[in-house]
Subunit: 325 residues, 6 copies
């Protein structure tokens, strides 16, 4: 199956019409394709404003001029190896904060059930738990590779279920992720308690704060890929980079990576068996120059490239031993 | 009791230090004062972004240069007649959308129990129900005078309790407001169904869409005051004015009143027995010039003036007959 | 044919997924529908910046929360009477200024040929000529009703064909519009020459500067409708309103109508036989609060309502005499 | 002397090159011309931010597309009757708040001495006193016609000489303006003391708050012109209009006039003997859409038109009796 | 004395109510605490706009979500070792540029007299001289460690006392700082004269332009700490970082450090005996995403951590020899 | 000839009056000077909005506070060696996209004919071809050193002559540049086809994508200078840097150099025989903090410094052998 890709005749140089991600075809039932880009407009109003629920559309809009036929950093024609569509957004009404997680999970479960890898466009961090639940139900416990300025496991607001902040901890509790195979990278800034990092490490997670990651570089990621072993979920919160590179996001943490550093780290995930991924945290309303959405679109394109790399490698290696011929 | 007011020695011309509304004293337990300004940072992420939960602080900041000693429009020295403090914000954690309404109601109930009139600074429209519940518990069914571009009674999102949009309908269902004594003014724009206005009117509410209000003017408000009869709640959503005058709000409805028209209508509430009031809908993040917060601060000052007018009139009339001397 | 309209089950209250105007179905070949909304991303870089070619998408985005089932101002369920789709944008590559007019004309001609009324979303004023050429080729000379702060007939830049500014003059020269049936409304501000208004009037056009229109009101529009007689084109440049109401546009002319005044004038076009229409001049990049795009979306919805009113009136009047039964 | 005006060959439609007001010639020594536009970049950092000292350049930039050959509102070819140049800015170093007033006064005095009418572009309100000192030194006590949301006579900060706010009071004290011939229009909003208006009226000034002006209309201005009798100074603070129309200014006062109302009032000054004028209060940094600077440029053009009207009327009336022939 | 710190029960995750720095208690008379955060709203209008006098409040607002209990970069629970309050702003009226320095000096002197270390939030660079005067009066000549893109000693505007730019030179002249113990770091960009750096070095100051600092790294800071010897003042102008990381400041100098580089350099001050400090130059009005204020808040938190480190080290070392037991 | 430079008496610290680049004299006929800064307001509306045609004025405005007397990075008093003026903008009417290239070429040809080096301020990338045509006509085929995130040779829009994107390819076709002596640096992001880089290299051009350049550093530039051999043109598109450092530009490519890296690379061009240069791509309307224009101004100042370095070196070397004495 050759499948779906961006139109080549009039490439993304022409940002006209309703925006889909990379001008990919809008397909409501993407069964049979390799990857479906799906908007996850979760927004609990926790962030500094900017409208996380409008994030997905902003990322689509920003993707229109990316020229995604060939990715020179990975030397790959992405859509030679991958059929991708834009599946629209999960049916989440703004303000329906209680119903949202289940609605997102349902939409994602349908993709996993059809053998489609979802690439989620957030939305605030509350969408992560829905993603992991949908993925683990089909794939079993996942390796999580998270690029985020926050540990996301501390549950600062304990009275509220499914809240911003506690997604990783709850994913551990529910057995959605395998801590021994999971690596969280990039955390920095102050903490609500001295023991937050240790507590998370005690659960088995590998934590690499930005201070260390900046020194150790892509080797950290290579080891995270190795640790992951099997099916993995890649989550990229745009607050991973320094606020200068993503001003339109929530809890800004100064002193982080540049976009160039971040993209190099992400590209080092080559070889990972990605069964789900996302890019989160775009609050378009407070970034008048739209550089945050552009970065998110670039990250999503790099994730697509990573998946395509794996497909290309598998195809080159031939059918797995024992496959019927 | 002379009570609390803005510092006169160095009036609000000096916007320095932490902002309280009109530089009023920050008082955690305002028992015994006449009015407490209280932030109601409700935010379900429903709005177009901009951070409704940061609205109260933005209004405080914008209030600092208002010079509120004398209101020439009502010819009154407001704080000669009124003791007012800033009671801070209700304890609502951002993103805690489920716990928020009860937290706000609790804070407001304490004020009502202490005989203090709360003047709420929103926050998105989800705060209104908490306000009415707290007020009605002490005062009984209220007359509601609402300035809003939306009817707010239609409940477009039925699966979510306490949601944006359905506050007025639920207030009716719960007996918090008396429809015969209540007037909703300013609605305009498209509707989700042809019968929305009629349905609301059928419940007994008086509805005056902006088209009519524009023609009939302050007489409409005078009649609403008359209808109200007793204890009343005034709610002013900044989306009542045209988006040009309040760009930093949620569901913008073009073709509305100017600020001058809106303030004239509000001032016509003179004589109303206000036992609670609010100004809602400020999303500071999407209004770089801060004119929305400034309008909200002006509205809040006019509401204080209305309450002061009533006190001044009562004082002039002497103690009610039968009062102990 | 009942036809296409916005989804009623989950109304526009849910601004999720790729944006189409009013969440209307995206239909590439709209033959057989009544009206097709079509983006006309003309942009010659003449305007003050802000990206006119991104205007259509901004208007779609801003339309998502309009709740367009019922228009209370005209007391009409718009999509009971009208089948409407979003036909995407004309295939114009950004920067391809020379090829753009023909490309837009081709896309519009196909609509007219199929009996579909195009409702164009601009784009800068260079799109108007393409619209009139496409319309007149099928419909013959049109009555033009233009709401614009500029006369648009003066051709200040004479060396450049199809330029911003000279569209009306060229439309006259080419016989696309009938000056005796056409009315231009709203011009104000300085002129490049004393005789500009007189020159335009000499050609037969009716000109009503804003100063006069402000005094005479909707009666002017009623007379313009009467003058029009037959098939008419309605063009609404958002610079018609005062810059406060549409800051995201090109040549701002201070001292214009409020949005409320503008919408009242537009609604007075009821009865006009509209065969083509547009709303122009949205430069989203320089309006961080997006109130300009919201106004444009509202104007487009009101134009749809006008067309629906005519259909409803015709339907009520029964089939025209001589129609086969 | 025919004199200086905007280039006609390539009118302001071409906003290229360094900006001068209306693309007028930049002339360092304007002796012999009728009017010199001069930037007065006073900025004491009092305003809400936005950089008042950058105001003059922002107004020049915004003026470039005004097409100022013919003013249809007054039916006049302005530069047929008036020779006008752009004299640059008074030599004020940013932050040199103490030296600034004298520097501005010197630059203005040179213009008055040469028989040139200065049209000042502000700058915050601290420039007004320098303007009045320079003008009165040559012309004697002036009639002041001020359009401003604030009375400007209250001196809220008494320890600081030449401060924002106290200019009118000091001008009275120094005999620069004749209170009996002066009218202040447009004040609104709260006051620092109940008696502020009365105190100002007691000095002989005519005060017309916006509430009254809105009702009485241009007749008020006609009477102010009549009262003025002789040489007059027109000062227009952009905070006169509602914040929606001039968001980029200092102490925003909600509930003010629209731009249309403001321009109509200003045009009613026809007949006044203007010997100096200004437009003040533009803070470009906080108005990303630049509508405030555009309004200021329009106001300045209308003031030029008023001066040209007077010249045209004088020319039509012939030389004054007793003039040498 | 355990003292004051941020509320732990509801940590800074809840940005509600009036903002104090890190939600610290607002205490008017901070005698007896270790550090008092104090706003220094100096603003001479010299900067590019943006309202330096509103800088302190913007930094407070941006600090609310910093989670400051534990600083993982220095592995310290900051408020275990330090009692800190928010002392509000020095009483400076906006526009009162002449009175401001003395007012700020008075407020700061009271803190020094009470043994409290002031941590100033600026305000433009004019506040530095007041800070040094207040500190040196009690502590004697100080070592100054300055992170700034400008040398700040050149006095480009010589006629104006206490002006922006000349603070360091005047501090030398007045003997407030000891040049042999002081290091200025980060200067770059053009100069008004070839000899500016040499002139400053001739006075004994150590200058490390950014070009050198970028190459030599934290070793430079370690040497500056060594040079300092005794009581030191740390001044951090946000223009030290590249404009991408602090767009909301005055004289932007491109080509500077990233935030990550800047914070690493600042953290290298560990061991310094800080008796006063500030973070300056925040102009909130021109940074719609508020990343500048967030960086400033982070810098202030790192400075608090440095002071806490010193206290922790002293406590660990036991009472100094000769201390009474 | 000592020639023209910025005023020294009142250096750029005073940003008053109409803006010229670095406050240089505005000179219409710059014959005899060394370098003329010239605005090239090309704008085809292709970019994301922001008004490329207003770019030149924005760069001038941003240059006013650069203090350009001495450049410490190159240790040079620039205007000791160079006479420079601001020649205004080429006469390009906004929207006149067809006439613009010839108009710009004419203006530039006059400079080259007079022996003046033009330093162009863009404008979008469509101006490059006009620059190269004008330069090559006098100087013969040039070495091109381009800093740009895009290869600019791919002609994605083939139907439109002189379009954005195809300038380098057409310059090759027309023999304006010598590919063996030309180096393009900084490209990154996706491509429209896999072979774009190879195709360009096949023509003889040296291409150094950002990934390589980041690793190899200034040595690449040194080699490019060596390759250039003779007369060279330096073109710097602000999209060369990461969007964080230049948010106000067109096709943002994330993951690029910091400003510090970019300036270091540019300064490594020392020794190049520059006969023409530009800085392109400033879209001021979408960068409210103006950091993009500030970077462009800094780049232009560094280019002036490079030219001055060459003059200084030549002067030190004495007259070339064979020169008349």
């Amino acid at each position: 199956m050759k499948g779906y890709g961006p139109s080549v005749a009039l490439p993304s140089a022409s940002p006209t019409g309703s925006a889909t991600f990379l001008s990919l075809p809008a397909v409501a039932d993407p069964t049979g394709v390799d990857v479906a880009v799906i908007g996850l407009p979760g927004d609990t109003g926790a962030a500094e404003g900017g409208g996380a629920h409008a994030g997905p559309r902003a990322v689509r809009e920003a993707s229109l001029t990316l020229r995604p036929i060939y990715n020179p950093s990975q030397r790959l024609q992405v859509f030679e190896h991958l059929s991708v569509v834009d599946a629209g957004d999960a049916a989440v009404a703004p303000g329906a904060t209680q119903a949202a997680p289940a609605a997102m999970q349902t939409a994602l479960a349908a993709l996993h059930a059809g053998g489609v890898i979802p690439l989620g466009l957030g939305g605030d961090q509350t969408v992560l738990l829905a993603e992991l639940r949908a993925a683990a139900a089909v794939r079993g416990p996942l390796a999580l590779l998270q690029f985020d300025a926050h540990i996301g496991a501390g549950e600062p607001w304990r009275d509220e279920r499914d809240s911003h902040g506690g997604a990783v901890r709850r994913a551990l509790d529910e057995g959605l992720i395998d801590p021994r195979r999971s690596t969280l990278m990039g955390m920095r800034g102050g903490l609500c308690a001295a023991g937050e990092y240790d507590e998370a490490r005690f659960s088995g997670l590998t934590l690499v704060p930005w201070d260390e990651l900046a020194q150790l570089g892509t080797g950290v990621v290579a080891r995270a890929v190795e640790l992951a072993g099997g099916p993995a979920f890649v989550s990229f919160d745009v607050d991973f980079v320094d606020p200068a590179f993503a001003p339109g996001t929530g809890a800004l943490e100064c002193g982080g990576p540049t976009s160039a550093q971040a993209l190099a780290l992400l590209r080092a995930c080559r070889g990972l068996d990605i069964v789900g991924a996302d890019v989160l945290g775009v609050l378009p309303g407070i970034d008048p120059s739209h550089i945050t959405a552009r970065l998110a679109a670039t990250v999503a394109f790099e994730i697509l490239t990573l998946i395509a790399c794996a497909r290309a490698a598998n195809a080159a290696a031939g059918p797995p031993a024992g496959a019927a011929t």
